[in-house]
Symmetry: C2
Subunit: 117 residues, 2 copies
Amino acid sequence: MEQEKIVDLEKVTKIKKIMPSDDLLFDIAEVFKVLGDTTRMKIISALLESELCVGDIAEITNSTQSAISHQLRVLKQAKLVKFRKEGKAAYYSLDDEHISTLYEIAKKHIEEGYEHR
Amino acid sequence: MEQEKIVDLEKVTKIKKIMPSDDLLFDIAEVFKVLGDTTRMKIISALLESELCVGDIAEITNSTQSAISHQLRVLKQAKLVKFRKEGKAAYYSLDDEHISTLYEIAKKHIEEGYEHR
DNA sequence: TTATCGTATGAATAATTGTTCATATATTCA
DNA sequence: TGAATATATGAACAATTATTCATACGATAA
């Protein structure tokens, strides 16, 4: 009546040891979470082309100034964008080259997904 | 009394033309959204080491079998993992090499962020 | 100073989503 | 067939979150 269990305890404990800390995995997930919103992705996509001020981004993304400002704060906290102030305006740009790389790879993943149908 | 506006209409319309379609941007954001959850990131991280069955993943991630099964469905739909059935067990693995690349870059972004403090 | 422009922010609301619990399906072994 | 194992799934609940609205803050020009 007793059946053999499938769980590979040796494999499981080995992987548990190798795995990064929960904190690091949380932070990594956090970066993706911030990139995982259409409005923020539009912002990223626009900033790939040029430094832009808040009003311009709102125009380009068909969003309100307020919505964009809120989302820019999220992107700023995740260190995905940086900004400089010039008079009344605040000019935003991508923080480092990782962002564009992440964007390109995800785009490639999507496009290859379409091919395989 | 009229002040000069900052909006650069030429720049805005140019970028609007260059930008990818809303559909593509939505799909790209969707990939990141799926990666943007701690549980799913733990799953990815474990699968980077080895093909694993559902029970093993639950053990490794300290989650329930049900929670993992639900999340694996999300990962499957996003084509981030694939699986094969062998008897009672279902063995899951990463779908393509993009996933590990995305993971590595995000990790690097985090780690460099820590250095800059 | 006053009016205007650009941006930021707090509160409220609506929508999305991850987990739990119970249960169903499927496979293997006695 | 019946019991045990592995996985999947639907419903419900709690928590998170993106947007809107109103308003505040800061800078500039008249």
